[in-house]
Amino acid sequence: EKLFHNRDHSDMQIPTSHQAPVITDEYEAELFLSRYGFIKPTQREEIQMKQSGISFMPLSRDIPKTSHGKVHKSESESQAFVSALKEFQMASGLPVTGVFDDATKDAMNKPRCGVPDKETDPNPHLENKSLLTISNDTHK
């Protein structure tokens, strides 16, 4: 169990390794937005998802990023990021700025449910449509 000394556990020490990584820059924001379905997986990722039989793309950590968290993006990827950001801001009741501002950063770091906000399922009309499903037989 986590270490504590106070009777009411108010001084419970949470090992930093157990801390969720705080979202501080656009790179992490992009991971957040794709994790919760605001950024659709690209065609390539979709094929990967189907082949590996999962309908939730584990966050591809290989997006190249510059030293201060900016991500090299093509024009279309930038647009996708901004529109996803606006969608998240609207759903969260934030000012829809399309900019990764403090209010958005704060909202992304709040405790939340892990179920995606948007269907991450590439084909929502699949018979066994699901939010998070591993289908063992790959032909589905």
Partner: protein, 419 residues
């Protein structure tokens, strides 16, 4: 891998396109390898039992904790874990941010790195609130971005006592339908309250009774009281705990009495002290035989009501109705009659015929209703006849469904009654 049930075995897609379970009694279990290290196992199970009960209070679904069947027979499996957990391919991120997720197949995982707390605590993350949210997902609800909705994706600090609001109720009923069922009796219970200035205020509460359970119906909120149904003996001391056939409130200038009827007997209820009378002012003991207290009335009866317009109690039994004068303490002349003759259908063919479950005069609607099964017929009022004289006296308007006028009167599984 976490044991994944058959994704389509016990589900069908509802009209809204979201998948829903195709059966209405669902089994759940807190899996042994998934206990939290922060609350006792009993606390965890109690909180989950309450979370499931909250969904069954607003939907036709019932939930039972199943700790004995093979795991594949359990519909919803709950467990705590940290990081990579319980064979799940979505690892948890540690304290903060993601606190739980639900698998469409019926598994719910809670991140044990979060500081989950019980319903009475005001710190940490309310396990009850998170569990209600995640169960909503398993039942087929997506995230709903409406302030006040329990299905909002972000966790809002624990309000004093959160409940499911109207829209959340309609969302789940859109998937599973409304709550239907016959009632043993329905009535408005009148009570007198003295104000601090010594005036007497008359108030009423509406109750729906079904076998050994009852709901208080909050007319102004169009729903039952949070946490109902409860067992009869909790709120009505001394009446039969397995339910009653009828309730009558005699209320005239000269007399006032509340009666419950069951089988061959009846009880007089002491509204002042909220319990049945053991005996009345003449020393007669209760319960008494209906044939003694109301000569000429057969028993058992199906239902009854007191009509303040003519100071008669109308007893319903099978296809007949008996008018009983409380002034003369005897059957009114010409009775019994066919129900259809005293309460004729406004629309021919649309009539309950007999075996009325409840005859309910509602002060909210200022109208008399006859309930049978899942339907009700409103009795044409005198004011209405004044406007539309062609309507027959005591005519029955075409039927409607009870769950279209009184909402969210839902059963819960007997195992979660005493929470």
């Amino acid at each position: 891998n976490s044991s994944l049930g058959n994704p389509t075995g016990n589900r069908n897609s509802s009209k809204s396109g979201y998948m829903a379970f195709s059966k209405d009694v669902l089994r759940w279990r807190l899996i042994g390898e998934g206990y939290s290290s922060q609350l006792t196992v009993d606390e965890q199970r109690y909180i989950f039992r309450l979370a499931f009960r909250m969904w069954s209070e607003v939907s036709p679904l019932e939930f039972v904790e199943d700790t004995w069947s093979p795991l594949e027979d359990v519909d919803i499996k709950l467990g705590f874990g940290t990081g990579r957990h319980l064979g799940c391919n979505q690892k948890f991120d540690g304290t903060g941010q993601e606190f739980a997720h639900a698998w469409f197949l019926g598994d719910i995982h809670f991140d044990d790195d979060e500081h989950f707390t019980g319903p009475s605590s005001h710190t940490g993350i309310s396990l009850l609130k998170v569990a209600v949210h995640e169960i909503g997902h398993v039942l087929g609800l997506p995230h709903i971005y409406r302030p006040g909705s329990i299905m909002q994706p972000s966790y809002l600090p624990h309000e004093s006592s959160f409940e499911m609001d109207w829209m959340d109720r309609k969302a789940i009923q859109h998937l599973y339908g409304g709550c239907k069922g016959r009632f043993s009796t329905v009535f408005d219970w009148i009570r007198k309250e003295k104000t601090p200035y010594g005036d007497v205020k008359i108030r009423f509460n509406t109750y729906f009774m079904r076998d050994g359970w009852y709901w208080l119906y909050e007319n102004r909120n169009n729903r039952t009281r949070y946490g109902d149904p409860v067992a009869l003996q909790i709120g009505w001391h001394g009446i039969p705990s397995d339910g009653v056939d009828a309730y009558v409130h005699v209320w005239s200038r000269r007399r006032e009495a509340v009666y419950f009827f069951k089988g061959l007997q009846f009880w007089r209820y002491d509204s002042e002290n909220d319990r049945v009378f053991r005996h009345d002012s003449e020393g007669r003991r209760y319960p008494r035989l209906i044939s003694e207290g109301f000569p000429g009335i057969p028993s058992p009866i199906d239902s009854a009501f007191y009509d303040r317009r003519d100071s008669h109690i109308y007893f319903f039994r099978r296809a007949q109705v008996y008018a009983f004068s409380v002034e003369t303490n005897s059957l009114a002349s010409g009775f019994p009659k066919h129900i259809r003759d005293v309460f004729p259908p406004v629309e021919s063919g649309d009539h309950p015929d007999g075996s009325i479950d409840a005859a309910y005069f509602s002060y909210s609607h200022n109208a008399l209703f006859l309930l049978k099964g899942t339907r009700f017929w409103r009795v044409v009022g005198s004011r209405e006849r004044w406007r539309r004289p062609f309507l027959p006296r005591n005519g029955l308007m075409p039927h409607k469904e009870v769950d279209q006028q009184w909402f969210d009167i839902c059963d819960v599984h007997p195992t979660s009654l005493k929470l």
